[in-house]
Amino acid sequence: MGLLSDPNRRRALINLLTRLNAPICVVCYMAGVAWFMGLAFEPFTLRTYMSENAMGSTMVEERFPSGERAVATGREFAAHKKKVSGMPVEWLVKTMQARGLEVYTQRFSRTLPFPDENKERYMVKGTNVYGILRAPRAPRTEALVLSAPCTPGDNNNQAVGLLLGLAQYFRNQIYWAKDIIFLVNDHDLIGMQAWLEGYHHTNTTGMDWSPLQGRGGSIQAALSLELSSDVVTSMDLVLEGLNGQLPNLDLANLFYAFCQKIGVLCTIQGKLQRNDWDSVSGYSHAVQTMMLMVMKQASGRPWGDHGLFLRYHIEAATIKGINSFRQYKTDATTIGRLLEGMYRKLNNLLERLHQSYFFYLMPSLSHFVSIGYYMPAFGLLAVILLLRALDLWVQLATPPPTTEDGIADIEQVRHAHSSSPGVLSVLTPLVISHLTGAALYMLPIRFQEMAVEHFPVSETEAVVLTAIAVYTLLTIIGTEQGWRVLKLVALLYLAVLLGCTALINFSLGFILALTLVPAAAFVTPHVPKVLSAFVLVILSPACTLLFSVFFFQELQEMPVSFLDGWLLYLSVISQGILDHFLYGSLVYPLIALLVYPCWLLFWNILFWK
């Protein structure tokens, strides 16, 4: 506490911080970025290990035999799907009943706020079919879910076949202590949302669905199965859920452990594990994998059907079968054994998965970075804002050597009082930029119909164009001195905002900090206007998103031309808005209502007169 009470030492520290403010900020920024890049370096990461006792040693035997039959069932399912051109509800009900499950259906319908052009849907109607395998050995208070989406086209038939095959096999085993729910959901995430809301008696998004007739116990864990082609060479694990939420790390460990045991090639973000961490290519591979995870998490959207389970405190992941044209093929029996092993382990759980980490990044499937290691990278960026704020605070107070001890010339005090800006001069830009933010949030949906009437554009484009039009609106308010107070407020606002964002979704917070912090640090009314305005626009949230789109494509090794990238950018914005209205993703309101107004404050400071 000496620092808090001893004026001499305080003065020395504050002098140091204000004199060396700019260099310290630059060093912090570099250190933050370097720290972040260092996270992917293998010696700095931890090896994954199973924390949950109940799943500790791999003492289960996988005996699932009937992969071939599952594939045949999948073909049958495909035929019926083609016949009714949609979900073959009756066939599914019959087949599930024949396998000894309690079968129920749920109907749902939802009208999107505007047509989704990626998936070509507007008014969605569908039916979920699910069968419950009642636990023979326990009081049916807990349940596990295995789901497979019924997608249009030939994509996921094998997964449904495997699900039915597993149902039949599981039915004959006696060791189940939890209900197992086999769910085939229609219209992927929308169907999943309807089912989860029905299961938990909540309605957060205003969807119409019929109530569920049968329920199991409280769901402990869920896996979603997607097999994109009939030939599978490797299994990919998808963890990123709604709002960047991740399942407990033990679920990933479980998957990894069984892949090792059975000998299946396993990937994360579609990237295989490499052992040459000390080479440049090995390190860049790890960076690529981690950056992909960061980008996906930052987007805040569910990257598989599992993403919506996480909101209900249910640990869930999507397992994807991928055909990467390798020699080694994985047949349906092996995948079935993998799933059987995982379910038997999950069946042993005595409580929810909670022992391992919830906040982590994975540079490979066998290594992870925990919150304690990655938060300093963000902290180093956030501290810049606080340092700048401290600098401004000291400038705003009367000359430092005398005020620090509370003694100052009376003239200076009076001067400070007379020139201190009123509350209004700070409040006005704050209110105006928030109103602009609110407009950005409301207008795209409100005015899309109007725009469609008057211009020959498609509805999605109308939405996106409105969003951008609001975005480039300039607001310049010129009054006298008070920009320092405004900047102080804006800096603290940004620091708190980014801090809260990084706690909920580290990746989003970090990416926003990467661009917004330099913008916030350098802006004053006295820098060259045109150049800084250009830099500020480059560092705005909209441009951050544009760069992220290109960067993401680059990481996936699918580079796009600028025009394609622009189209992709537009569709990403409309997807973000849809995600908000359909599933309650928070990224769009966060950007529109808080981050963008905050950026506008800095814009105001630049054009302060």
Binding site: L4, S5, D6, P7, N8, R10, Q245, L246, L310, R311, H313, R352, H354, F358, F359, L386, A389, L390, W393, T403, D405, G406, I407, A408, I410, V413, L492, A495, V496, G499, C500, L503, I504
Partner: protein, 444 residues
């Protein structure tokens, strides 16, 4: 008087609250902004009451605690079979806030008048060192303080949240504000009655007894001297009124309920902290973690915090009872067993009264940053803990701790600044060491 600059004398002559023709003008001038403020505050609350946020806020643990939750009041009333409660409307809660604000406004106005009068006498007696003139308060800066106090209370987001959540904390605050008002007006009987009401609601205001008595004695020119009979006579008088009204209240409750059950379930609940729902206080986590056989000991240690500081603070601040009231309110809201943000709002309303201490405050930046960050982190970490399930109670408690440390820092900073100003007023502003170099004050 020779060293006085002209502006001071002028300002004093035109001090608007002098009971002359200025008083009339003053009333008109000040009533308008206050009314505007009240209308604005009530509008904000009414709008929030009608919005969907009201339900959300009423569930927040930061805003309501087991003893202030409106839900429980309604439950209790229903159990009493009183039918529809007359208090169930939101107007009632808005009214409580308005009463608090107006009472504080009047109290501070009166207090400022006295401070100014005292300063005037001291100036005329040449009691202040010459270089302290800049420390002397001018009527210009004091003019808007009462309005600022009302504004700090009514527009404080903490108060608004507390009111919209229909927390009964607003009622407690109203009673305490009325107590402060009647004390500053010098009405011994009303002061004792309101203090007894506040004590009756939640035990802690008991510690406000000391500043109230000190203030009333100062007002009646009774010296604080243990050997004087008048001192003891006054204390006996006050305690008699206080305990007498407490006795009447307790008996009334007994006759209303027909049993003594309410004593353990109200005061036992406050003192023995059986409900460990998380809140912004220090108790819940500690007692949730503790082994049962240490419970009583630590309960005493924790509870004694609230009461113990009364003695040293009263000794140190016996000349400045109103500042003592502020300190006591802060101590209560930090160390009480079920604190909510409404309690914090009450003592924060007093901050403008001490705006002249601003130059001696040392940690304003740090404290305001921490308080701001903590207030936003509370809901975020609560979400991560309860809804997302990814964080745990340690995260939330860490923020609680930080929040309370910041509050303690704030209060001790004000305490230090107050003592320092008093020190300068007696020894001069520019302290010299023995060798003639400039000295700095160091608090160790």
């Amino acid at each position: 008087m020779s060293g006085l600059p002209g502006f001071l004398i002028d300002d004093r002559l035109h001090f608007p609250s002098c009971p002359s023709q200025g008083g009339q003008r003053f009333l008109v001038e000040m009533a308008a902004p206050l009314t505007l403020l009240l209308v604005l505050a009530v509008t904000i609350r009414a709008a929030l009451f009608r919005s969907s946020l009201a339900e959300l806020i009423a569930e927040r643990v930061e805003v309501v605690s087991p003893i202030t939750a409106w839900k429980r009041v309604v439950e209790g009333l229903a159990l009493l079979d009183l039918g529809v409660s007359p208090y169930s409307g939101d107007v009632f809660h808005e009214l409580a806030d308005v009463i608090t604000a107006v009472a504080l406004y009047m109290a501070v106005k009166d207090y400022n008048k006295q401070v100014f009068r005292k300063q005037k006498f001291a100036l005329e007696a040449d009691r202040y060192p010459l270089d302290c003139l800049e420390l002397i308060r001018s009527p210009k800066e004091m003019y808007y303080i009462p309005l600022k106090v009302a504004m700090f209370y009514l527009l404080n987001p903490f108060t608004i949240l507390s009111c919209v959540a229909k927390s009964t904390c607003g009622l407690n605050n109203a009673v305490v504000a009325l107590f402060i008002f009647s004390t500053i007006k010098g009405n011994t009987l009303l002061s004792a009655i309101f203090l007894c009401l506040a004590t009756y609601q939640s035990i802690y205001p008991l510690t406000l007894c000391a500043p109230a008595m000190l203030y009333l004695m100062q007002r009646q020119y009774i010296p604080v001297n243990f050997r004087r009979a008048s001192f003891w006579w006054f204390i006996a008088q006050y305690l008699f009124m206080y305990l007498g009204s407490l006795f009447v209240l307790i008996c009334l409750s007994f006759f209303l309920l027909g049993s003594w059950d309410y004593m353990p379930s109200v005061y036992g609940f406050i003192l023995s902290v059986p409900d460990l729902t998380p809140n912004i206080g220090l108790f819940w986590y500690f007692f949730a973690e503790m082994f049962e056989h240490f419970r009583l000991f630590f309960l005493c240690v924790f509870q004694i915090n609230v009461f113990f500081y009364t003695i040293p603070l009263s000794v140190k601040l016996k000349e400045h009872p109103v500042f003592l009231i502020f300190m006591q309110l802060a101590v209560i809201s930090i160390f009480k067993s079920y604190p909510t943000v409404g309690d914090i709002a009450l003592y924060m309303a007093f901050l403008p009264v001490w705006s002249h201490l601003y130059r001696f405050l040392r940690n304003t930046f740090l404290v305001s940053c921490v308080l701001l960050a903590c207030s936003t982190l509370f809901p975020v970490l609560w979400h991560l803990w309860i809804y997302a399930g990814s964080a745990n109670s340690n995260f939330y408690y860490a923020i609680t701790l930080l929040f309370n440390v910041a509050q303690i820092l704030l209060v001790s900073d004000y305490f230090y600044a107050f003592l320092r100003r008093e020190h300068h007023l007696t020894y001069g502003l520019y302290l010299k060491r023995k060798d003639g170099s400039e000295a700095t004050l160091v608090l160790k």
